[in-house]
């Protein structure tokens, strides 16, 4: 079951949405070892699920590489990826995603039989896993008759059906109360101790203390407060580009700027034209999102750069 290190290098995923490009993963790199519990930490929309999809061979990244031991996941296609998912990866999906018509036992066994495992062995394995997650007495219950925590434990057991060396869990404690979340965390700890690598995406800080490695999907220094200062840009110079991490909010002191949306085909669309006393770039830092547009100096400009907190207190409240 033990697998070589997981090495993610310069991973980029870019989508085209409504004619413009968005980049949920931008040159992400990290490594993890077998037996580690890796927590992907960040707010909603920061690319955690996208990263899990790439690690699980469901989504092909735009560029960069993912290696699991000797296997270059990003070089695989079609049936190779099917085999990789079937043999090396266990998935625990957000909101459980159990099949509603199947009992807990069948939810674990049927994916095994569909991937070519012997029917009898599949059901024996399902019984064994239900015992392991403490749900042997709920084996014949439909998901509709299980609590959220119980459904999540069945989902974990399903992910472990073929004993994968890498388990990917998407928000496994979301929608669970603290008692149920604790049971899931304890379960993941135990699985990690078996020598399995576990990658968990979450914005639940309760998972941080048990993590062996934390991958911050949004740079942790992004919201560090920086002093207010003036910056100058010559006409045509870029102030920031669409997709850049957002850290500061700008108020135009003198001159004019253009707010531009970069389209998927490389073209540009001017969204706004701002002059003195007008501000821009506030939503990204407030929400933890990357820049949704580029801003360029239309003329020579002087801008005042604020940290989000100071901007909120000193500028926004005045307006």
């Amino acid at each position: 079951m033990t697998v070589g290190p997981l090495i993610v290098s310069d991973l980029v995923v870019e989508f085209i949405h409504d004619g413009y490009a968005i980049r949920p993963l931008d040159n992400l790199s990290f490594q993890a070892q077998a037996g580690e519990l890796v927590v992907l930490l960040g707010p909603s929309g920061c690319g955690k699920t996208t990263l899990l999809s790439c690690l699980g061979g469901i989504l092909t990244p735009t560029s960069g590489t993912i290696r699991l031991g000797d296997v270059d996941v990003t070089a695989m296609r079609g049936k190779q990826l099917d085999a990789y998912r079937r043999d090396d990866i266990g998935f625990v999906f957000q909101a459980f995603n159990l099949i509603p018509s199947l009992t807990a036992r069948e939810n674990i066994a049927v994916p095994l039989t569909l991937t070519g495992h012997d029917r009898k062995e599949s059901f024996a394995r399902a019984d064994e896993l239900l015992e392991q997650v403490g749900l042997a007495d709920r084996a014949n219950h439909l998901p509709s008759r299980l609590s959220g925590g119980q459904m999540q434990r069945v989902a974990v057991a399903r992910g472990l059906g073929h004993n994968p060396p890498l388990l990917l869990a998407d928000e496994p404690t979301a929608n669970l109360d603290h008692i149920q979340a604790e049971a899931i965390i304890r379960l993941l700890q135990g699985l990690r101790d078996d020598g399995r690598m576990i990658v968990v995406s979450t914005h639940d800080a309760r998972l941080v203390p048990i993590a062996d490695r934390i991958v911050h999907m949004v740079p942790p220094d992004q919201h560090e407060e920086r002093p207010t200062h003036d910056v100058t840009f010559a006409a045509g110079e870029s102030i920031f580009e669409q997709g850049d991490p957002a850290d500061l909010v700008y108020v135009v002191k003198t001159g004019e700027v253009d707010v531009i949306r970069v389209l998927a085909d490389g073209g540009e669309e001017r969204l706004n034209h701002l002059g003195p006393d007008q501000y821009f770039g506030e939503l990204g830092p407030f929400l933890g999102f990357p820049r949704s547009a580029s801003v360029r100096a239309h003329t020579d400009v002087v801008l005042t750069a604020y940290s989000p907190r100071i901007f909120r207190e000193k500028v926004l409240h005045k307006h």
Binding site: E106, P111, T113, L114
Partner: protein, 347 residues
Amino acid sequence: MILLTFRDLVYRKTRFIVVTILGAVVFALLFVMTGLVNQFNLEPAETIEQFGADQWVLPEGVSAPFTSVSVMPAAAFDAVEASRKSPVVITRSSVSQGGETEEVVLIGFEADGLGMPQVVEGRASGAEGEVVLDRSLDIDVGADITVAGAPFTVVGLTEATTVLAGIPFAYLTLADAQMLAFTSTEVISSVLVSGELAPLPPGLTSLSSDDVVAQTLQPLEGAIASIDLVRALLWIVAAIIVGAVVYLSALDRQRDFAVLKAVGAPNSSLLGSLALQAVLIALGAVALAAIIQVFLAPRFPLPVTVPARAFWQLPVLAVVMALAAGAIGMRKVLRSDPSQAFSGAGA
């Protein structure tokens, strides 16, 4: 795959039961329509076979004995040279009993000759004032009736002696029929011939029994074509019903399929599950239809004979139709993206 299919059928049982019943009603109508067309095709062959003739001698210019008026002098009978021959009168008339009148085809036959009724109850009419009726008239042996206004007693019954979609035969002695049809014993309609037939004198022509069958069927061709059109429409309705439920099922199960794909389940297994569901619905509907048609067919105003072959042809066609109709749903499965497993709320 079988378990996945079976469990889903149970999980969405209300929907599948409703669709199976709807499908069964459509398939039952298909059974009946098939039986109707089959009966139309069988009827003239079965009826004309009972005359025991190989050839039918008619006046030139008469297309067939049951679809046009055929009149020839009785003396023409002597001019026909054949191994075995019998004169026959054929004309449209009516029988009445208790105020109810039914249209019939009168057959005047010669005792012990060709065209004599094959009686299944009672005996053949042999004397003046006796008549043998087709059983479909629902008149018992011994009943007193009128034929074309003249009193007759029913002495026997025949079966499968109807033409033109259920018009029953009434057999009389040749003389009675001649008098009712022509008020003369010097006129007949045709000469039935069995065995060798010598060249006919001018003014007469002959038709084989097969020709007579084909000619008798001709007036019903429009009706048969109309029923065939209705059958085609019923197949389309059945395909829409099965296709719609399979498509709905594919939509409902899209995330399930995405999850199973994500864990490495091959497309073939998932397609197989959906296809099996379509086939089971179609076969369930056909099985129920086979029962419904037993009760529906006798209530049909026209005779219905569902051919035995329909009981295997219809299920086979239904399976092919279900797979074709389910193709849209199956395409949905093929296109379901495993990354959908990571999104939204599920069970």
